[in-house]
Amino acid sequence: MSDTGQPTQDVRGTAPFRRHAAELDLFAGMHPMRVGRIAWILALATVIAAMLNSRSITNWAVELPFELGVVRDWIILASQTWHGWMMALGLDQVHAAVRDAFRWLQFWQPGGP
């Protein structure tokens, strides 16, 4: 509102407004993708992440905040079975190795072990 109660001047077409809008536009010049490709990326990334991080999935399933009755039991069973397979393949070691390396970095002191 202006002081007179009239609608203020619309500045959206002016050069400073366009310049400011361009500065705020994060996406200008970025590369678009098709939604199908994104869906494949997300699906594949989910499977890979689930293979490398199966323990966290089990933890999540156990701590689900909903009362889902028997479905909850199925989810827990499925996640534990999946985690068992990944352990058998040794893939759960990737997550643990990264975690250990980071913990070492966290507690490292110059002159220490």
């Binding site: 939604v35 490398l52 999540w60």
Partner: protein, 474 residues
Amino acid sequence: MLFPTFDFGVFFLLVFAVSWWLLPRAELRKAFLVGASYFFYGYWDWRFCFLLLVSSLVNYAAGALLDGTRDTARRKIIVAVAVAMNLGVLAFFKYYGFFITSLNDLMFSLGLEREMPFLEIILPVGISFFTFQGISYVVDVYRGHVAATRSLLNILLYISFFPQLVAGPIVRASHFLPQIEARDGEGPKPDRILASLGLLLIVIGLFKKVILANYLATEMVDIVFFDPFFYGAFDLTLAIYGYTIQIYCDFSAYSDIAIGVAALLGYRFQRNFDQPYRSESIREFWRRWHISLSTWLRDYLYIPIGGGRGGVWKTRRNLMATMVLGGLWHGAAWNYVLWGFLHGAAMALENVLGWDKSQPRRALWKRVIAVAAVFHFLCLTFIIFRAENMTIAWDYLSGFADFETPSEFFSPFILGLLVVGFSLHFIPHRVTSAIERTFAGLPLPAQAVVLALAIVVIDACGPDGVAPFIYFQF
């Protein structure tokens, strides 16, 4: 529901799949996104979904009424009532306790003790954000900057869209409504999704929140601010540097993830942070920090109360008023008011000294000094912002005179977090573009592997559990 959790990951994958499947039916897609957004909000406390609904209905009705009349006096009344209702809800939920406590204290100091009706009110998450969005819609319709939408679904989605619902960015109706007003088959273009940058923003946001912000908070900042009396100048300095980096990483991470998630659903949000700690003045800082709030305050508060019109003193007064109210927006406590006041005073001082004017490029050493001075002013004011109360803030400030207490927190890890957090401010934008371009050029399986590895590494490095985002409380 917090972004860096499995719950959100599962929720988002489902929403992504269903929303794109519903693309040919625009109204159904919007209805689904509204439902998903209410589920997202209700996951925290379902009762406040009604508040969200009432806010949307009030603003929709105000927009429709404004659209139905050309009478200036009537339009003024409609916009005033709508803004008052929005602010009334915000005042009740956010400021009632603060008002009653302050009034009690005042009456006690005057010897007029009275039992004031005190209510324990839960602050609904994100109320400051969706209230400001509602106000911007009504005022923009009044000003003629945006047409009133005839679809209730559009307003429901605009107010509740889950990526930005609880901690921003504060999206303007003029920016978002045109993106959702499409008819069947005219919605987001499924072959034009800006997903490379969206995914990059999500990964960067997760890194900033899960690693930088969380470790700085749990390993140092929360401990020191709990009782700063026990720490010396060195640890207090480290901790306030830590908090300054933490709040940036925490809040900008939320914005990054929100913008990235919205992009994957086909919507564009604008930049909300632009390397704020490289600012050479406080005015510049507010052009780079929480841009959607600072521009909101500029357009709906500073300019309507006079802005730069009416001489230098009125300009400074308007700056002060805007910043004090901006401070109060962050929380119902006197430390936020003081924080806003200090920022307003600094901007008024810059105005007096002419530092806020556009200047030719300064010499490098002058710029370094200006950046350092602004950064340390921000650190100082963040002590007041972060402290639970003014006593703790005073203990903190007093501790800077203690050079004898040895440091407990100095370690290569803490130093590394600070350096990485601060360095993010000096990475040129072209680097982000180059990473985005590289990622976009990878074959599909490689893109999936990179994304999965990034998420697994961040999860493995992060501490157990994720603290809520700082700006949830605002």
